[in-house]
Symmetry: C2
Subunit: 327 residues, 2 copies
Amino acid sequence: MIHRIALAALPLLLPMAAIAQEAPEPATPGSVIAAAAPEEWTAIPAEDLLVMELAPDTAGNARRVVIQLIPAPFSQPWVENIRTLAAAHWWDGTSVNRVQDNYVTQWGDLTEDKPLPHGVVAPEAAYEASDLLAKTTSLSWLISIGGNSGNAGPPAPPLDGRDDLHAALAGFGGGWPMAWYGYQASLQAWPIHCYGYVGVGRGYAPDTGTGAELYTIIGQPQRHMDRNLAVVGRIIDGMEHLSSLPRGSGDLGFYTDEEDHLRTAILSVRLASETADPPSYEYLDTASETFARYVNVRANRDDAFYTVPAGGVDVCSVQVPVRQTGS
Amino acid sequence: MIHRIALAALPLLLPMAAIAQEAPEPATPGSVIAAAAPEEWTAIPAEDLLVMELAPDTAGNARRVVIQLIPAPFSQPWVENIRTLAAAHWWDGTSVNRVQDNYVTQWGDLTEDKPLPHGVVAPEAAYEASDLLAKTTSLSWLISIGGNSGNAGPPAPPLDGRDDLHAALAGFGGGWPMAWYGYQASLQAWPIHCYGYVGVGRGYAPDTGTGAELYTIIGQPQRHMDRNLAVVGRIIDGMEHLSSLPRGSGDLGFYTDEEDHLRTAILSVRLASETADPPSYEYLDTASETFARYVNVRANRDDAFYTVPAGGVDVCSVQVPVRQTGS
């Protein structure tokens, strides 16, 4: 049921006329995405979009960050908490309190004692979706880009259910980078912490956090966070407003008391459906032919700039294309 | 000859007394590094250290970036150019001209017509070292952390020399993240573009660049750059001064003419050996027992914060420990 992209063999499907007449321009990730059919793009529901307005920068420019929340069946208890927190305007007046280079930017309530809205509690840990077959109509949306943690290549060896990265497959499901192991009814899948992905801050295990404290990855993804922290979304616009902030000099990149002026104030966080002029976005269907070509080109760059194709690509080096369609 | 770390089996070598009396604190990457023996640290030669002074930030704070140049047998024609450029004070008065989110920060001569010192020319491409056995006394310094692009796990399948990521092993050699394939005399190895690693900007292939235009990785490493661009060093201090700069809004993250005020001026770039009070650093020997333990702990976090050990780790998630020892 799990669809596999045959990376090396995938033809680029160039029009015959172009092949007959002249050598075509080599495909680039950009040219492949530009050629996607309209029906290969999927609209993101307004209830999955969160709009965070940071205080303007020193030059007075607005700083808007847009987060796409992860859809079912992943991380939904936290996602529901986040919708409740946004509806309660809970983040208004909070701040970005931690920026650790090559790791995370983290935001929330500096005092750590701001009361939470009714019903917002840390759920039981459920970092994996363990009965995907029951929760989705088809598993064909899980697309492997190669075994062994997302590096493309020949078909992976038979899965043996070992609970480690090596045994896990990585790829994409429903528009999101995923890792999984098992097969059919025993399939276990979980979302991956890539650059710009948003997770739930927490204390020591088994605490899972509520979703009030959030972070995003601003460097090399640390895959050991997967299944230990909840991935609840990804930044689809304005990532630079979080990644380019001054780093904190305290432990773990927290700003010290002397660096209070470096903390960026959060003016508001709203569900897009609650805003006056909601922005809209769509992402490239990860089960589409164009996405398969895009992965292939990412893994085998052979345009004028490159000489040696890598022949493989890390799952986090394949960013799911997202584009704004309104407002 | 290539040494392999048996990740899962590696004992943590705890003192017997601790085992007998109480459950020891679980090891963390930090605790493992702190316990390294003095002789496991290797001094970085002053001629391999480059000190770049950026213009002070808006609060008047100095911004010093220290780069470690990669040692032989890798990328030496460019490294020699870089030493010549630094000795000629060529970068003084140049600037940071490009900051592309989740990709690179790049610096050099904005006009692109500043004359280069005598002898600084783009070398023939030699991104790989192809006769390592002749160039080093032993290959035992190439340490694999698992097959398939640096993900730890069981021994990799036999190498078949295929020219792709899947067939390549990844790990560490001489203190640097490396990928390689082949065996013994046929071994080909090359350095990896990880976060904070420095490479040589260039035009279209087969141009290889001179080393006058440099970049560093500020996001997800893009391994397709390996063997297509020359890795010449890594930032070992002050990375945050390059990663937290405002992103450029022009194509590829270049600053536009309207964003001239965002370009960060480079006051000077000097070889440490040329400075009045040279800083000194050392790195943890990647062939040491402590480094092996460090990789193991990175791949299998089981301290109080983590519940599910990953069982593997990407080569770029294992930063080689570097510490300052003087000035």
